[in-house]
Subunit: 260 residues, 2 copies
């Protein structure tokens, strides 16, 4: 590797999956979901790029309760990722480089998203790409992604799978997309994963049960890593036979796999 | 949820990503890569299903060094997953049910693979599916998957990606598959991830550089979570201009994304 060792690095810092769901009581202990080594590395940082600065500060408070921060919270430099502006990619590159300026000056930077692994089903990939372009070492720290926890818990094909993000909100477009994903899954033997804004969880489940074939397997994971979290995996026919209410206030991951 | 509370659960226990690479010196501290909560849950278990019993025992020794095991190692019940027998799926179901017998009798069971999240790019999904069929609660514990660490570190599309497993070994079939994945990536804007047996890492990199378009982005992550681990992400043209030797003794994850 020819990276300049005087440069700082970009550390991808995983966060717990419980943000935004604290209404369910105290969040789990940080040490239940993050390695101590990761908590220590987070505590040593003083420069951050975050999807949301407020959430990043709440995370750092939890870190500080276990390993004292190198700098007090008020002294931490926390910059926010720009909101993605469609069709303005060129304009964005320079602002991303600005966010990485501390690394060019030798400071390690931590990247955090709202929950889970940054840059996965979350903003941040453009910043990582900018880091590579600038010769800044990118170091992903060990942490959980709700997508992979859900896939592992589904019993669907962990040897071949795709994450497709959000499905269309429009009912007609969504039905077409569901049938397309089922056909793709059948053709390639590939499990297909999607997510939804929590308040639309029940609507997405209803659409999946309306448009998938009875033999297709459907798995839904809700509130993973939370005490009340669960995964249910069954044929569409079995789901239809046993109506299940999904929570509208915790994230869910939906996975489907057509039979061959 | 209507699961019988007297049943044991199937806990999906993540393991470090350093197995099989201990020739590089002492493995990282377990607490660098696994949450204390997960180590505690692993220490409390007495029944296991493992991809490889020997690796599972080595993992439990590392757990025991941090949190004493509920039962001594020799008294732990560790069963191995059956090797997948092609075309004999029916015959397998009953042996999987046998592995889950302790859960039917009220014992929690831990599932572990060689490295990372069980049932992801590893055996175990059929056992998870059997657990759902038997009404056994499946609980995935927080841990890292090399696939998602590699994807996050690549800067490629974390909002849409696919993992396709191994590429064909035959040169002609591999070239065709590489072109197919590139076309798919261009059409769907989807990052494509693949893995390779470590000793073939250099051959896969050579094939990717030979058959991908110059503007396609290629990211390679080697030995993630190890001290010597690294991720390099660049255009194919830039990779070609700067020959890079891949290690043949640590796992690598390859990710590509075609330009639109």
């Amino acid at each position: 590797m020819s990276e300049d060792r005087r440069l700082g690095r970009l550390l991808l810092v995983p966060t717990p999956l419980d943000f935004g769901v604290s209404k369910h009581g105290a969040p789990p202990d940080l040490q239940d979901v993050l390695p101590l080594g990761v908590i220590r590395q987070a505590a040593a940082l003083t420069h951050w790029v975050a999807e949301n600065a407020k959430t990043a500060r709440a995370f750092l408070k939890r870190v500080n309760a276990i390993v004292p921060l190198a700098l007090p919270l008020q002294a931490q430099q926390i910059a926010e990722l720009p909101r993605p502006a469609k069709g303005a990619k060129g304009a964005q590159a320079s602002s991303l480089d600005g966010l990485l300026a501390p690394a060019l000056q030798g400071q390690d930077i931590g990247l955090v998203s709202e929950a889970g692994m940054p840059a996965i089903a979350d903003p941040g990939a453009a910043l990582v790409q900018a880091a590579h372009r600038l010769g800044i070492v990118v170091l992903p720290l060990s942490g959980a992604s709700s997508l992979l926890l859900a896939l592992a818990a589904s019993g669907l094909n962990g040897q071949s799978f795709a994450f497709v993000g959000y499905l269309p909100v429009d009912a007609v477009a969504r039905a077409a997309r569901i049938r397309e994903l089922e056909a793709l899954s059948r053709r390639a033997g590939q499990a297909q994963l999607a997510i939804e804004t929590p308040y639309r969880n029940p609507a997405l489940l209803a659409a999946l049960l309306a448009h998938l074939q009875p033999a297709t397997r459907l798995s839904v994971s809700c509130g993973l890593t939370l005490a009340e979290g669960w995964t249910q995996s069954n044929s569409v026919a079995a789901w239809r036979a046993k109506p299940t209410a999904l929570p509208t206030d915790v994230p869910a991951v939906f996975a489907l796999q057509a039979t061959a």
